[in-house]
């Protein structure tokens, strides 16, 4: 392996040593999974954890960063319990977090449809969908809590879709053979986030949560091995300010934007978890990234982001390409027998509903083979005409109205006239900071929720399971586990923000800001982001090889050092400066991208979203190597110019036995 070579970025203050990492044990990382049969672990654990008595809760301050589903639900619930909460978000309102954009729905094992669903089945599907790279105990708990989430959201007034009799409606969603997905038109994320945001607003009103909007966390503060607070920059005034607490919770979302083009909101980034990583938190499985099969193909070079078409469309849409290479005919002039419904052909049992990674690679296969459609030949068709003929246009309208409008707005084409064109895009990141069963990282006092942690989805996430996980983490898990870490601190005040531990990190943050402004080079921040995205997508995208990854690992440090020599960030710190905000985020992507590639290189197998071309079955399916890689890879930062150190958490499967996935 080439030696890891970090750029001469601004010298960050050296990370203080982390106390004996809570989770590490001599033989690897310990996820601290409770004992007992899987169905009893969570109940047993709730009994075993230390509690903070109601009158004492207000003596604890918890800093929550991020107001998406995970952060808002956690902050609201912690506030309800009586903790003193500080909520920090770079958005101008908590309600704008990226979670708002989720379309399709949220899973829950309610079995309202009497179609064979159960907690065990949701657990099993999630483990299998994740290609046996997730922790059984966590996933089982997630499936158990899924039913409480729906109850909670309904009580808050989330307007889920209903049947005529007034009961909740369900649909089946990518990769599932049961109908367990709850939805609110095509705006499920919006409605769930509004529910959590409203609960949060109530706590703000009651004075239990202190809200700091347009405030970006730029570093984590550790003292005596514990996370004691964060350092932020006010995006309007540029002021650098510290917030201190007995615990820090990061719920800062995923890092898909390391690829530049993704379906994530423009501001989604890796900064919070990357800076925490540089201070000692382990980064787990960063190479597990998900490519979503149903996005609108890029139209030109100015494309700034890609738009997802909810994969619920795959319930009614049939995916095809012309059999003939380079067929230029408009789609409705291509007769049935000259169309290749390749998913139905290759996977008769699951057809158009195969998991995302399988559907994405199949689309890439067709486009690479030269059967792509559309002006840029970079898509495949998703055709609703069979469904329209079967159930009528009104029903389709009702199900997908806003998606159809969105498609037409973006492409200028009417999806009722011609089939939609779709292509995979980066969408979700399963990797993230390593956490134990309590959702605490290896740094005591630092908790990580939602897409920012690595838990639950293994190497591939099932559709409609991210919302479920974010809300399980925030509403139900953290509020029950955080007391375990807090109880021993009773009577201690939070570390004051004038403590040298804070001062040191504050000056590191200010120095980096100054350094970015002082380069005064010739290239814009966006230019660097785009270049990084190209490397990541070409060499570490849907198909990865040792060769492509080594190439990326050589190119990224060059780009990074060019960034620090040649970036042009105009304006000053003391005002609203979006280039400066973005520069910090891109600087972190330029470091993180390399770790992602290194993780991908080290994982000499294909699993879920991680496809190594060297490791595939004869018919091109992902080939896992359970004997060697049935573990969580958790990376430790060992210095700006050093190789990261690998820690392994072994995965054991007692209830869902690994099998090669087959969707045929």
């Amino acid at each position: 392996m080439t030696r890891l070579h970090w750029s001469p970025g601004p010298a960050a203050a050296p990370a203080p040593p982390v106390g004996k990492a809570a989770g590490s044990a001599a033989n690897g990382l310990n996820g601290r999974i409770p004992e007992g049969p899987i169905a009893d672990k969570w109940s047993n654990h709730k009994f075993d954890v230390k509690l903070v008595n109601p009158a004492n809760k207000r003596k604890f301050r918890i800093v929550v960063v991020g107001s998406g589903l995970a952060g808002a639900s956690a902050a609201a619930t912690l506030g309800e319990l009586g903790y003193a909460v500080t909520m920090i978000t770079f958005h101008d309102s908590p309600r704008r977090a990226h979670s708002i954009a989720a379309q399709g729905g949220i899973n829950a094992a309610k079995n309202y449809r009497n179609d064979g669903d159960s907690v065990h089945r949701l657990f099993y599907d999630t483990i299998k969908g994740g290609d046996y790279r997730a922790r059984e105990a966590n996933v089982y708990r997630l499936a158990e809590l899924s039913v409480n989430i729906i109850d909670q959201c309904v009580a808050q007034g989330v307007p889920f879709a209903r049947e005529y009799g007034g009961l909740l409606d369900n649909r089946s969603f990518g990769g599932a053979q049961v109908s367990r997905t709850f939805y609110a038109r095509g705006q499920t994320g919006q409605q769930l986030l509004l529910g959590a945001y409203q609960a949060l607003a109530r706590q703000v009103h009651l004075g239990n949560v202190e809200l700091h909007e347009r405030t970006e966390m730029l570093d984590l503060v550790i003292k005596d091995g514990r996370a004691v607070g964060v350092v932020t920059r006010n995006l309007v005034s540029g002021a650098v300010r510290s917030f201190s607490g007995h615990a820090v919770v990061l719920a800062t979302g995923g890092y898909s934007n390391v690829f530049f083009l993704s379906t994530n909101a423009m501001a989604s980034n890796v900064t919070a978890i990357w800076r925490a990583h540089k201070r000692g938190a382990y980064m787990a499985n960063p190479c597990f990234t998900q490519i979503h099969p149903t996005c609108i193909p890029a139209s030109d070079d100015f494309q700034s982001k890609l738009t997802l078409m909810s994969e619920s469309l795959r319930n009614d849409g049939r995916i095809w390409v012309p059999k003939e290479f380079g067929d230029e005919r408009p789609p409705n002039q291509i007769p049935e027998e000259e169309r290749d419904y390749y998913l139905e052909r290759r996977y008769p049992a699951f057809g158009n509903l195969v998991p995302r990674d399988v559907a994405s690679r199949a689309a890439k296969h067709e486009v690479d083979a030269g059967r792509g459609v559309g002006p840029q030949k970079n898509g495949v068709y998703l055709d609703l005409s069979t469904a329209i003929a079967r159930v009528g246009r009104d029903v389709i309208d009702e199900r997908y109205d806003n998606l159809m409008q969105m498609y037409e707005r973006i492409t200028g084409e009417d999806p009722y006239v011609a089939p939609m064109r779709i292509y995979p895009a980066v969408h979700y990141t399963m990797g993230g900071l390593w956490v134990d069963y309590n959702l605490m990282s290896n740094v005591p006092g630092l908790y990580v929720l939602g897409e920012a942690n690595f838990s639950d989805h293994g190497a591939n996430r099932l559709g409609a399971s991210a919302l479920m996980q974010g809300l399980a983490d925030g509403y139900f898990i953290l509020p029950n586990t955080i007391g375990d870490g807090l109880a021993p601190l009773l009577g201690e005040d939070p570390v004051p923000t004038d403590d040298p531990a804070f001062a040191e990190v504050e000056s590191a943050v200010s120095d980096q800001v100054k350094q970015m402004l002082s380069v005064k080079g010739t290239r814009s921040v966006d230019w660097f982001h785009r270049e990084l995205g190209k490397i990541m997508w070409d060499d570490c995208g849907m198909a990865r090889s040792a060769e492509s990854l080594e190439k990326a690992i050589a190119e990224i440090p060059e780009l990074r050092s060019e960034f620090w020599r040649n970036v042009r960030v105009l304006g000053e710190n003391e005002s609203f400066n979006q280039s400066l905000e973005k520069a910090g985020r891109v600087a972190d992507f330029l470091e993180f991208g390399e770790l992602l590639c290194r993780d991908a290189l080290h994982r000499e197998e294909s699993c879920g979203g991680h496809f190594r071309v060297e490791h595939q079955t004869e018919d091109g399916e992902a080939l896992r190597h359970d004997d060697e890689f049935s573990y969580v890879a958790a990376w430790e930062h060992t210095g700006d110019h050093a190789q990261p150190a690998l820690h392994k958490e072994a995965l054991e499967f007692e209830y869902a036995h690994p099998s090669q996935r087959s969707y045929k």
Binding site: A76, T77, E80, H91, D92, S93, P94, R95, R96, H98, I100, A101, K110, Y112, N148, D151, Q152, V154, A155, Q156, G157, P159, R162, E163, Y164, G165, G166, L167, L168, R185, Q187, G189, Q190, L194, Y197, Q198, A199, A201, R202, L211, A265, M266, S299, D300, F302, S304, K305, L308, M406, T411, G412, F476, S524, W527, R568, L570, G571, S575, F576, Q578
Partner: protein, 254 residues
């Protein structure tokens, strides 16, 4: 395509601000309006001028961040469309386009096209929720919600909180936003226990920040989610009924 942009530039809240003219040559009809600004900003950075600040995030018409007054119309010419979903094919080649921030007393300008909309959060904090602490909920299907009711609540709940309604209103009123927020909850069975206090608290808070409604209906015309002003009527009805209810309750107490 080629366009001329006439853009409001303002360095800081207390700065005077003025229009600046920029030409952008390489415009593709498939570009979104915000991508046009990306190109403009790259051009400005190249020349060593500070890029235009504008709020945006999802670029899918759902987060409510984007907020441009385009040729005098909030979110531009296409109805039912947020700025981020407006595409250049809706403009003529060679067009001159004037772009301003939302202008309203309750939305102070932060910089260029970016305004502070936090007054909306204050309205929600005043009562825009159902009190249902985590863990207290009953089994979801015990609460029956007729489909029509749920659909109507969803129509209101679709509000993205962008503030176009306020920007379009000659009085800078926030009636449409507030009504959507109130009626989402007041229509649902779960929202009934707090219905009357909710409407009073939210409307009163709204009035601390925003102007009054005089039925111009501009808000409905520009709403990217096409939220109906019927919700304002429902809110007003609830507000009046709530005053009677409150009086009766007050009477009982004394």
């Amino acid at each position: 395509m080629k366009v001329t942009l006439n853009v409001w530039r303002q360095r800081s809240p207390n700065d005077g601000g003025s229009f600046q003219i920029y030409e952008v040559d390489e415009v593709s009809p498939d570009m979104s309006f915000l991508e046009l600004f990306d190109v403009l900003n790259e051009q400005l950075i190249e020349k060593g001028e500070e890029p235009v600040a504008f709020d945006h995030d999802c670029r899918e018409g759902i987060c409510g961040s984007c907020s441009m007054m385009i040729n005098g119309r909030a979110h531009g010419p296409e109805s039912g469309t947020a700025t981020c979903q407006l595409h250049m094919r809706k403009f003529e080649d060679g067009a001159t386009i004037t772009v301003e921030p939302w202008r309203a007393n309750a939305f102070p300008i932060i910089k260029d096209l970016v305004v502070d909309r936090s007054a909306f959060d204050r309205i929600v904090e005043a009562g825009g929720y159902i009190t249902a602490p985590t863990g207290t909920a009953s089994e979801a299907n015990l609460i029956l919600v007729p489909k029509e009711v749920s659909d109507a609540a969803m129509d209101a709940a679709a509000c993205i909180g962008c503030g176009a309604c306020v920007a379009a209103c000659p009085n800078g009123a926030a009636q449409l936003f507030t009504a959507a927020k109130i009626q989402h909850l007041n229509l649902l069975p779960q929202g009934q226990p707090e219905r009357w206090s909710r409407v009073i608290d939210m409307v009163d808070t709204m009035e601390e920040f925003f102007g009054s409604c005089t039925n111009h209906r501009e808000c409905e015309a520009v709403c990217p989610k096409e939220i109906s002003i019927d919700f304002i009527a429902l809110m007003n009805r609830d507000y009046i009924r709530a005053q009677f209810k409150q009086r009766r309750l007050t009477g009982q107490k004394s």
